[in-house]
Symmetry: C2
Subunit: 517 residues, 2 copies
Amino acid sequence: MRNAKWGIALSNRFPEKIRVFDTTLRDGEQTPGVSLIPETKLRIAKQLDELGVDVIEAGFASSSEGEMDAIKLITKEGLKAEICSCSRGVKSDIDAILASGADSVHLVIPASDLHLKYKLKKTREEVLKITEGCVQYAKDHGLIVELSAEDSTRADIDFVKNVFTKGISCGADRICPCDTVGILTPERSYEFFSDMIETFPNVTISTHCHNDFGMAVANSIASLRAGASQVHATINGLGERAGNASLEEIVATLKALYNLKISIKTELLYRTSRLVSRLTGINVQPNKAIVGENAFAHESGIHTHGILAHPSTYEPFSPEMVGFTRRIVAGKHSGAHGVKSTIEAMGLHPTEEQLKDMFSRVKNLGDKGKKVMDADLLAIAEAVMGLQKSRPIQLEEVTVVTGDKVTPTASVRLKLNDKEVTGAGTGVGPVDAAINAVKTAISSVEPIHLDDYHVKSITGGTDAMVEVVVRLRKGNRTASAMGVREDIVKASVEAVISGMNVLMADYNNQTRREQVQ
Amino acid sequence: MRNAKWGIALSNRFPEKIRVFDTTLRDGEQTPGVSLIPETKLRIAKQLDELGVDVIEAGFASSSEGEMDAIKLITKEGLKAEICSCSRGVKSDIDAILASGADSVHLVIPASDLHLKYKLKKTREEVLKITEGCVQYAKDHGLIVELSAEDSTRADIDFVKNVFTKGISCGADRICPCDTVGILTPERSYEFFSDMIETFPNVTISTHCHNDFGMAVANSIASLRAGASQVHATINGLGERAGNASLEEIVATLKALYNLKISIKTELLYRTSRLVSRLTGINVQPNKAIVGENAFAHESGIHTHGILAHPSTYEPFSPEMVGFTRRIVAGKHSGAHGVKSTIEAMGLHPTEEQLKDMFSRVKNLGDKGKKVMDADLLAIAEAVMGLQKSRPIQLEEVTVVTGDKVTPTASVRLKLNDKEVTGAGTGVGPVDAAINAVKTAISSVEPIHLDDYHVKSITGGTDAMVEVVVRLRKGNRTASAMGVREDIVKASVEAVISGMNVLMADYNNQTRREQVQ
C-alpha cells in the first residue's frame, strides 16, 4: 500500500480517468421548491461546460413542455459536454428525449422489491422485459444509454445484476447502481462497487449517491476507489430531500487529498456554486465545505494567529484552488493578531498598548452577542487612539411615503460635515427610495457605491428584528456596516450611513499625507 | 463478517457505549460571526442536556469575561451532562476553568511540526514538558482531563503518541487525536484509529473531525467503527470554517444504519437544530441531511407517487425518528398523485379529468420558474372545477408613512365580500403597520392568525426582488401564500391577503355542509 501525504492510501483502484456526470439540472432541479426556466437552465449548462464536466444531465424531457424547451435550447448550444436526459422505462419518455436532441438517455429502472411492489406494481420478469425493450429502442435510435437500477442498494443484488446483464446484452453503454435513499456507508460502498466491477469488468460503472445521512461524498469517493469510473454529482449538493453528492466536495477531495488529476477547472468551483445558488434560490449554508461563506473564514484567536503566520496551519488547501478568498473576521473569539491586521488595513497604526485595549473592547462587544463590523472597529480604534471621532454624516430625519397607488418617495435631512443638506428620492419601494434620498443628499461631495446590500432572512412575525448588512465602496476601499431595527427602512439607512462614515474617515489617505510631509 | 440490513457490515469494533461530546458551545460558537451571550448559551446547554449528550463543552473559560460568565451559569444549573471547558497548554487557562466550576478540561496541545514551528514556536521537547505540567496541574486540582493533540492527522504519529503517553502517565482520562483541518478519509480514519486503539487500549479515545472536504461525519463513524469510544460533534455541524462533524447526522447513522443503541433522544434532534440555528443566526441549508427543510420533502412525481404508496420507497427512515414531519410540495416536477393529495386536503374532490387538467397547469406554472403555493393550487382548482372564484378580500389601496420621526402608520381600503371596508394601523415599521391595518379592516368578520412570516434573504441592491412567504391559520386550517415585489410592503400585503382568501374560501366546510344536507 503506497501512501501519499498525510498517510492517505493510494493503493486504491481509482480508474485512469474519472468521468463527472453532473445532474444539477435534473436531480438537482428536483429539489422541492426549485423550478428553472429554459434560459436559466441554459445559463447553468454553459457554466458547467466551462467547468469541464463530462456529462450534463439537462432535465427530464417528457416531464413538461418547459423541460423539453430547456433541453432543446441546451443541445443547440454545441457544448463540449455530452447532453443527457432522464427517462423512465417507458418508450414515450425516450421519444421525448429523441425529440429534444440530447446525446444520451439516463434510463432509470426500479430494482428493489419495495419499488417494484409499491410503486411500479410489476414483477421482476416484467421489469427485465421493460429494460430489454427500452435499451434496445434507445440504441436503435442512436442514443448513448446509461442504465440506472434505482434503489439498487436495498435490492436483491442478484436481480440488480440481472437487470444490468440484460441491459448490457442490449447495448447499454454505462450502468449505474443507484443509492436512491442514501443508505450506503463508505466501507459498504467499497465492497458493493468492488463486486459490481468484478461482475461487469468491461463497462463504465457510475456511482449515484444521495445524502440522507450526510455521507454522499464519502460514499462516492469510496465507489471510485473501488474502481467505478464515473460519478454523479450536483453543484451545492442539490437534489431530492437532503440532496445528491456535492460536485465541489468530490472534486476537491480527489485533487487535494488523493492527488488525482481530474478534468475539472477547480478555480471555477466557487463561482459556479454562487451562480447555482442565486438562480435556484437555494442557499448554501455558511459552514458548507469548499464553497460556504465561512469555508476559509477565521475568527478565533488561535486560528487567526496561525493563519497569519502560515495559512496551511488551519487550511487544508489554499482557497484560490477553488476560486475563493480567505477572510479574517473580528469578534468575540478574536485574538490580538486578527484585530491588528484588520485595523492596519484601515490605515491606522496603534501602539501595542492601544492594540491590547482595542482587542479587549472587540471581545466585550462580542461577549454581548454582537457581530463586529468595520464600522465598529473604526469606532473602537478612534476611541482608544484618541482620534477625533470622525462622523462626517449624521442623520437628522428621514420620512417615507409608500403604497400601491403612490410612487415610493423619501426625504432625508443630514448633517454633512456640520452643514445641513437635504435630499429626496423615489424608488421601487420604501427602502430603495430612502437610500436614493441619502445618495442624492451627499452626491455633491461623495460618490460612494453600494457594493452589497443584504437583509438576513426574517422569520417570525412582521415585528421581528431586521438585520441589514451593507458593503460600500469608494475607490479601492470597502467598508462593512450593519443596522439592526424592527423597521427595515431605518435599519437600511443606519447601515448605509454608518458604512459611508467609515469610508469618509479615510485614515489611509491621512497617513499617506503625513508620510509625504 | 455479520451483515445487518442492506448489507452494512456489523463486524466492526464499535464500543459497547458510544459517548457523545458536544462542542456546539465551544468549537461551534467559534463559527465566524457567531457570538452568544451567557443566557443564550445556558438555553442551548439545557436543550443539549435534555437531548442526552454525555459531555457539554461549554466554552473557552479564559477567552473573555462573557465566556467565563456563561460557563459559570451553566455549571450552576446542575445538568446531568459533564460540563467541560477548553484550554491551551497554559496554566492560567486551567485556572480560569477551575474558577468557572466546570467538571473537566479539554486541553489542546499542538502536535504537528507545522503548528509547533509557525504557531507555537516551541520544540517537541518543550511541548512534552508543557503537556506534563498542564495535565498534572489539572489533575492535582481535581479536573477530569481530556487531552487533545491538535493537527494529529498531519503530525509525526510517533510524536503524537509521545504526547499521549506523557499525558496518560500524568493522569489524563481521555485522549483525542484531532483532525484539525479535516484531511482524513474514512479508510484512513479506520486505519489511524485502529493504530491508536492498539497503542492505548486502556483509555477512552475520542474522535474530533472537521468538515473541510465534507467527510467529517463519515470519518467520525469510521473512527468509532475502529473502536474510538467518544465522538466530538456539533449541532448543525457548526464550527470553524466548514464546521465540525454534525451531531444529528452521526446519531442518525449509528441508529438507523448500524442499528446501535445510543443514549440520545433522537426525536429531539430537529427541535434542537432549529433552536441552535435561530440563536446562532446560522442558517441550515434546505438540503442538509436529517434536519434541512427538504430532508423529508417530496415534489417530483415519481417520488411523491412512491411516498404516498409506501413512505419507505423514498425515505431511509421515518421523519418522526428525528422529530420532523414529511411534506409534499406541488411544483414543476409534481406528478398527479401529489397534486391530488394536496387538493383533497383543501376539501375539494375533482374528477380524474379535472385532476389531469390541474396537474398540467401546476406544471405550467413550474415551467415558468414559479413556486406553487396553496393559494396557486386553489386558484387552479377553482378554474378547472368551474367553481366561482372565491376572493372575499380584494385590496383597493394601501398607503404607508414611515420614518425616524414619525410612528409608522398605514391605511388600507379593501373590498370584503364586495363591501368596502377601511382600516388603519401603526407598527414597529412599515410592513408591520400595513399588516396591522389589514387585520383591523377585516377583524369584524375574520379572526385569522399569521403563523409564519418569512422574507427570503435579499442580496444585491436595494431594488432587488423581495419574496415574502406567509403561512396563515384559521382554526385548524393553514394556508401558504407568497408575494413577490420589489417593494417589501406590497409583497407582504399581497401574500397575507392571498393566504386569507384561501382560508376564507373554506371548501372543507362547504363540503361538510353539503354532505350533512
